[in-house]
Structures are given as structure tokens and as C-alpha cells.
């Protein structure tokens, strides 16, 4: 008994000692990290702020009417850059309350007004999430000593969202004009005055463009090369393979393909020329094979946050402007199955982004059709006004397809495109309840009979079986991998599956 008490007290003493040491170390650690926190030396330089932001609203400018001193291109560049950063730090401050950068981009008086506004909002438990989308600067005056510039931002477009208690209370698109005066202080062009004036109408109805036409009958296939699934434009890109694949697609008597542009792979906001060139080659080969191409943008993109909008718009701009006149481009598919992100990113957030993006693409390229590749027929009616035709995917039992089509037709007058359908012939070790190749062929048989009756546009999933599908798609489980990899019409050995004949020999 005495011994055990002794042991207990020893344990207590040792444990206490260890605990004390741990607390001591933690304390020292806290002090250490406190002493090491704070601004890094580099942050005193202007460039630091510039490098940290990823903000790309469209900016056009005109200095023809500028009076006063000389306004060189370099100066204009500096002004525009700082003006852009000023909006960025303001938006950031209004959303997060983080006032970093306000001191650099606003003069003392202007900054006070902003800070008062931010203080008021944070007391109300409000945050405003916003981004400007385009600016149109008309330079008015530059002082002779080059330290004061006055200009107007005419018809600036922006989007804002009002958050309260974690809920979106309201969202608006805005068209407003501003009068601005900026001063050059300590190497920064700072906003001295900004005043809204003669604000334009809010953008409500945005869809007044001529409707792009679809071919009479769109029968197509979703395309990835066999060796590089989900990575068409990567290192394995080979025009000769693509030429051969497109020949096979022609053999299937199909007239369209759908390809995927990975947002990050293509360089995010600054699209890589090398990737654009590969897409160009693919489109050229498609033209040679008389295939229409539906280009699905923003593959694997999943941010949607308002502060990221300008980066995505810039990305779309570079792609759409480069290829809008390419004869092979039929449509821009804004994003593949964005409705799958509703649960993780919020439906309002995703829809708001899609709405802006589809509108923006339409503005850039009124001649091509715009669509969104919804994952199921129920979601296809979302943003109906923004698209030229409704795209949806259907992997359920075909018995439900007719009803789904009928329901959609009763609710929209726009064309329908069944953008993805297919059945995996994945019967095997990993999936003993899977389907075999004959069942896959029967599936297409059944589909074609429905389609014969209804004549909607369709694209099957997909040309090839793959050796393996990337983990980002399958989540790494072998049975999912097996399923995902066996949707093709041609097997891994390059042999045509039964379904190949069914598609080729359709009426």
C-alpha cells in the first residue's frame, strides 16, 4: 500500500514535471512566434502587394481627351495597376474586414471614409462580397508635375453579394460610373476622391444575342485519347493519334465531339500558348474530319468565389477570343456538371458564377452557342435563359429517359442535348454485378430506339476504354476505376466492342 502510494506520488511528480515543461515550451514557443510575426521586410515594398493579388478585371482606357501634362504609356500602366489594386483591397476589406493595403491605395481622407463603412458593416455582422468585372477609364487631366490624375470610370460593371449571418441576403449586378482623383504619393497612385455618378441601369436581362444554330442532328461522342484520359492536352498530346481517333469517329457516322479544357492545366488566368496551340491542332484536325467540337471549359475548376471571378473571366477571354472564329467550334460548354459542386460550394455561389461566365462568353462570341453540361435533367432548367441549348447527362436506367425528355420539353422551347450517356461494360473481378459488352450494346440499342422517336441531340460517353482512370475522378477505389474505365466503344486492346457496331449501324 505504501509502495503503491509512493509510486503514485512519483508518477504525479513526474507527470507534473513533464506538464510543466510542456507548458514552458509552449510559452517559449508562443513568445518566439510572436517575436517572429509581423511584416516581413519585403512587405514594405510596393511590389509585394502587387504580386500577392490575382485580380484581372477587363480594363479599357482612353487618354485622347487628357489635358494638362504628358501622360506616358508607362504612367498609364502604373495608374491602372494601382487603381486595380485599390479595388481589390477595397473588395477584400469589405468582405473579410482585412484592411491590408488600404493605407497604400487610398489617401488619408478617402481611407477614413472606407474604414468607417467597414466598421459599420462589421458591427452589423455584414460582409459584402464583390468584384469589379470591367472598367472603362477616360483620362481627364494629369497635372504638369505628373502627380495628380483625374479620370472617370464609365459604366464599370461589378457584382456584389450581401452576406449576413452566413447567408446570402441579396446579390446584384451593377453598372455604375465613378469620378476619380488619384495622387502619386510615395510611389503609389492613391485614390483621393471617388464619387459615383449617373449610374447606369442594372443588368437584368442579359440575353439579347442572336441564337446560335445547332446542326440539324447532333450525334457525337465525348472524346479523350485512349492513353491520356482526362489529359487530352498534356505531354502525351499527339496529332497523329487524334487524327486516327477522329477517323474512327467518322466511321461511327458521328458529327460531333466534346473535349475538355482543364482550367489549371491551361494556366488559369494566364493561359499558356503551348496549350492553346495544342487545342488549335485538335480543332484543325476536327475541321479536316468534318466534326463539330463542343469545348468544355473550366474542367476541374471548383473555386467559384467572387474574388476568383476575374481570373476565370480572363481565362475564358483568352480561349474564346482565340477560337471563336474557328470553323470547328460549335459551342462553349461553360462547365462540366457544375451542379455536383452545389453541396460543397453553395448553389447560389455556383449559379452566380455560371450566369456571369455564360453571359461573358456569349458577349465575346455571339456566333457560337453556349451551354452548361448539367449532370442530370432536373438541373438542366437552371439558367435556361443564359444558354442556347440545354445540356444534361443521363446515366440512369433508360426507362426514365423518355419521361425526363418529355418533362424538359414541356418546360422549355430550347433545344435539348443529351450531352453524356453510356453504360460501362465493367463486369469482372471488381464488379460482379456489372454489365458485359452485350448489355452495353443492348443499352445503346434501347437508347437509339427512344431517340429515333424523339430525335434529340446526343453525345455518348466515350470512345475508348481506358487502362486506368485518374484518381481525381474515381477517388482511388478500384471498382470505381474499373467502372469509369469501361464506358468505351473500343476496348483497351483497340478492338471494337459490340456497342461500336450498334452506334455505327444506327438508322
Amino acid at each position: 500500500m505504501r509502495i503503491s502510494r509512493k509510486i503514485t506520488s512519483r508518477i504525479l511528480i513526474i507527470a507534473g514535471f513533464v506538464l510543466l515543461n510542456a507548458l514552458l515550451l509552449l510559452g517559449i514557443g508562443e513568445i518566439y512566434s510572436f517575436l517572429n510575426s509581423g511584416a516581413s521586410k519585403s512587405s514594405i515594398f510596393h511590389g509585394d502587394l502587387e504580386g500577392a493579388i490575382d485580380y484581372h478585371p477587363e480594363i479599357s482606357w482612353d487618354s485622347l481627351q487628357a489635358k494638362g501634362g504628358t501622360l506616358s504609356l508607362n504612367t498609364i500602366d502604373d495608374i491602372i495597376n494601382d487603381y486595380k489594386i485599390a479595388w481589390f483591397v477595397r473588395n477584400n476589406a469589405l468582405f473579410t474586414g482585412d484592411q491590408n493595403g488600404l493605407d497604400d491605395m487610398y489617401t488619408e481622407n478617402a481611407r477614413e471614409k472606407l474604414k468607417e463603412l467597414i466598421r459599420y458593416n462589421s458591427e452589423m455582422g455584414i460582409s459584402i462580397e464583390s468584384t469589379t468585372l470591367s472598367h472603362n477609364l477616360q483620362f481627364d487631366l494629369i497635372s504638369a508635375d505628373g502627380k495628380l490624375v483625374a479620370f472617370t470610370d464609365l459604366g464599370m460593371r461589378s457584382y456584389s453579394r450581401l452576406w449576413k449571418d452566413g447567408n446570402i441576403q441579396a446579390e446584384t449586378n451593377e453598372l455604375a460610373s465613378y469620378k476619380l482623383v488619384m495622387l502619386l504619393e510615395d510611389g503609389f497612385w492613391r485614390i483621393r476622391h471617388m464619387e459615383r455618378f449617373q449610374s447606369g441601369k442594372p443588368i437584368t436581362s442579359i440575353y439579347n444575342y442572336p441564337k446560335a444554330k445547332l446542326p440539324e442532328q447532333l450525334n457525337g461522342i465525348n472524346y479523350y485519347p485512349q492513353q491520356t484520359p482526362w489529359n487530352t492536352f498534356g505531354k502525351g498530346f499527339d496529332p497523329t493519334i487524334i487524327q486516327e481517333d477522329f477517323r474512327k469517329i467518322k466511321e461511327l457516322r458521328l458529327n460531333a465531339i466534346r473535349v475538355f479544357v482543364n482550367y489549371e492545366d491551361f494556366g488559369s488566368a494566364n493561359v499558356l500558348t503551348e496549350k492553346l496551340d495544342k487545342l488549335q491542332q485538335l480543332l484543325d484536325i476536327a475541321t479536316a474530319n468534318e466534326l463539330h467540337v463542343i469545348v468544355t471549359l473550366f474542367d476541374f475548376y471548383g473555386d467559384y468565389s467572387v474574388r476568383d471571378w476575374t481570373s476565370t473571366l480572363k481565362h475564358a477571354n483568352q480561349l474564346v477570343c482565340r477560337f471563336k472564329d474557328h470553323p470547328a467550334v460549335l459551342s462553349w460548354d461553360v462547365k462540366n456538371e457544375p451542379d455536383l459542386d452545389f453541396s460543397s460550394r453553395g448553389k447560389k455561389e455556383v449559379v452566380a458564377w455560371l450566369e456571369h461566365m455564360s453571359h461573358y462568353i456569349k458577349v465575346l462570341d455571339p456566333g457560337s452557342s453556349v451551354t452548361i453540361g448539367w449532370s442530370n435533367p432536373e438541373d438542366a432548367l437552371l439558367l435556361e435563359d443564359e444558354v442556347d441549348y440545354l445540356s444534361f447527362h443521363f446515366y440512369r436506367d433508360l426507362d426514365g429517359l423518355q419521361e425526363a425528355i418529355d418533362t424538359l420539353k414541356s418546360r422549355t422551347t430550347k433545344p435539348l442535348v443529351l450531352q453524356e450517356l453510356g453504360l460501362s461494360s465493367d463486369f469482372g473481378l471488381w464488379n460482379i454485378f456489372g454489365h458485359n459488352q452485350s448489355e452495353q450494346a443492348e443499352y445503346y440499342d434501347q437508347f437509339l430506339s427512344i431517340n429515333q422517336y424523339d430525335g434529340i441531340h446526343f453525345l455518348t460517353w466515350t470512345l475508348y476504354d481506358f487502362h486506368s482512370s485518374p484518381k481525381t475522378i474515381t477517388g482511388g477505389s478500384p471498382w470505381k476505376n474499373s467502372k469509369q474505365s469501361n464506358f468505351g466503344l473500343i476496348d483497351v486492346n483497340g478492338d471494337e466492342k459490340e456497342a461500336f457496331d450498334v452506334i455505327r449501324d444506327r438508322d
Binding site: 515550451l25 509552449l26 517559449i28 514557443g29 508562443e30 518566439y32 512566434s33 494638362g68 477595397r90 469589405l94 481622407n109 478617402a110 471614409k113 472606407l114 468607417e116 463603412l117 467597414i118 459599420y120 458593416n121 452589423m124 455584414i126 459584402i128 481627364d140 487631366l141 497635372s143 504638369a144 508635375d145 502627380k147 495628380l148 483625374a150 456584389s160 450581401l162 449576413k164 452566413g166 447567408n167 446570402i168 441576403q169 441579396a170 446584384t172 451593377e174 455604375a176 469620378k179 482623383v181 483621393r192 476622391h193 471617388m194 464619387e195 459615383r196 455618378f197 449617373q198 449610374s199 442594372p202 460543397s344 460550394r345 453553395g346 448553389k347 447560389k348 449559379v351 432548367l381 437552371l382
Partner: protein, 422 residues
Amino acid sequence: MSIGTYTAASIVISTCMALAILSFAPEEDLKVPSGFSDERRYELLPGKVEFLAGDSIRIGFHETGIESIPSKGKNTDTFLLWVKSSYGSVPVEPQTDSNNSYFQLPSFLCETAGETEVLLVVNNKITDRKMIRILPKEDSAITMESYFGPPSIQAGTADFAMLVTLPTDMYDNMVSDSTMVNIGSTFRRETSIFNIPMKNGYAWKVFPSTTTTGTYFVNASLYGFGAREMESEVHPSKPVDFTISAKREHDYADGNRLVRLSTSVLRDNYGNVISDGTLVTFEIESEQGNISKTSGTTINGVSTAQILHPDHPDTWSVRARISGIAESDSLKLVFTKITESIPINYYKLEDNIVVGPIISYMGQWVSDGTEISLFLNDNLILRKGSKEGIVNFSLSKLGLPSEKLTFEVRALGITETIEVER
């Protein structure tokens, strides 16, 4: 894992949690078109749309169809007024008095001029919007924020100074367009007042340069509110070519006196004396083509510099330059010998060569320190400065052979020889 990373990790975790909470948003069907039809609809009351900064702004609302009767709304409805002002937007909660509900804009919004958009948000939907205009309060104390520059401009016709003034009301709002600002200027005793209309928040005036130098004093004022005067100087323009002169006590090459070089009064194209402190470099080229330089800065347009006479007869050509801008003509200066011959004696007992006393142009000793060199077979053996006209060359320690030697003495551009029998 160090303690630092532990702290960082916990911050990351808590941030993730915060993000998770933030990203939780209610699922709401967006497709239902705003739901106006089956929902009670509210509108903002018409009423005043133009206010002066600082006025109290109150906006009421009412139910559609029941015109102009302010409403409290139903208890189940939530109301919010989203106000979009010049510097950003804020929501305003409704307030209720005995009869109705209204939105009272916070004072800082009432003080910010500009087109302000107000949106009525009912149950998370925007049901009405209108624009109100807040005008600057111009009968208040005006602050004149003026910029005048550059601080100096060049005389002539190309350059100019510019005054930009940003008058603001007591709430730091830009003053309305077309308001007349008084801009006064004084230049060479002449005072003028200009009335300049405001546009986009500023008024401005250019003050062109003149051909005569002077100082512009300017000021801008509005409604009697002024600011301190500002100035910009019209500096002389670039100097034009000029002449130089030299002043010396005599023409002898004595290596002792100074030549004083000066420029004429330097002026710009318009006859203005150029600014003090302009650097002028004098370049002196000797007969042999060696170049020496001396320089001076201008005072009252004249730059002077000094240089020693040569210690041998020479002819200098002198030219002055203001680098890259202007230059003078060339000036020729001749220096003559101060003596015809130099006496030399050898004293065998001391094994010394004594040079001198050298007598200068009016019978005086040459100045102390005059350089005298001793050569043997064209090789320099010794060099010394004179003292009281004399130099003593001691040969004993030079280790020269004891035979007949011929030495040369060179000084003041003269060469004498002496034969020595040791």
C-alpha cells in the same frame, strides 16, 4: 513537430472550421422567379431624391397597390435596405415608430456625395430600387486642396506650370461641376484673377512660361475660403555661347603667379542671366597638346577660375564649356622666358655643382621652389627646388666615375651644359 508548427497547425484547423461554417449556405431553389406573384410586394416610397450632404435621409416603403401609405410590413417579413454609396455598400435595418417603418441612413452615408442607389430587400429578394442623389454641401466651410507645380519652369515658350485645385466641402466631398473657382496669380508685379469652372471635382489653370524670369505666386479660393499662396519660379533657360577673357599680372612664365580666367555674363536665349551655380569648365591646351582643366560656378552669370603660370615659355589656347549646352570662343595666351641664361659652377673640393643665383626678369631671384633638373647623358640624376635663386647639387654620394663628365642643367625652359673634371 516544433511548437511553432503546432501553433500554425491549430490556426489552419480553426481556419478550416471557420471556412466550413462559412460555406454552409441554405439550399434554396433559385429558379422560382423572385416569387413576386405569390408574395406580398413592397416598394420604396417615392419622395425626395435629392439631398444635401449631411441632411438626414429617411426612406420609407409601402405595399404595392396601397399607394403612398407607409407600411410596417408583416411581422413575418424581413426588410433590409441595401445602400450603395460612393465608397462601398452597407445594409440598413428598418426602424419603426408608432405608425410605420422606415430606413434611416447612417450619418456617414448621408455625408458622402454622389449618386446613391438604394435597394429594398424583402425576404432575401430585391423588390425595389431607386437612386438618390446626395449633393456636396457647398455653403459649408470649404477646404481648398491645391497642387501647383512644378516648382520651377524654364523661361521660353514651351514650359508651363499648372495649378489644380480640389475644393471639398466640410465632409470632404468634391464640389459640384460648374461651380466657379477664383484663381489668382501674381507675376512681375502684375496680379490677375481668373474664374474657372469646376469639372469632375477639380478646377485647373495653366501658367505658361515667359521669356523673362520671375516668380508666379498663385492661389485658389472658393466662396472666400482660400489657402496659402504657392509659387513656381520661371528659371532662365539654357545659356547660349559666350566669350572668355584672361587677366594676369605679367606675361612671364614664372610658374608663380595666377592667371584669372572669366566668362562673359552668361545669358539664355531671351537675355536672362543664367542661374547661379552653373558649372563652367575651362580647358587649357599647351603647345605640346597637354590639356589642363579648371572650373568654376557662375555668380551673377559670370564664372571665374584660376590657374598657375607655366614655368617655361608656352602658348596656351583656352576654351570654356558648359557641358553639352554652350561653349566659348578660343583665347590665346603667350608666356615668355623670365631669364636668358643660368649661371653654373662646379666646386671640386666639395664635389658640388651650384646653379644660380638665377635672376628673374627684373633682377629678383626666381621664386623659391622653381624646379631645376640635373641630367647626365640625357638621364635625370637629380631634381631640386630653388631657394633664394640657388640650387646645390652634391655629386659625392652619387657614385659617379672620376673622369671628365658633361652635365646638363634644365630649368625655366633653358638648358645649360657644364663640363666637370673630378
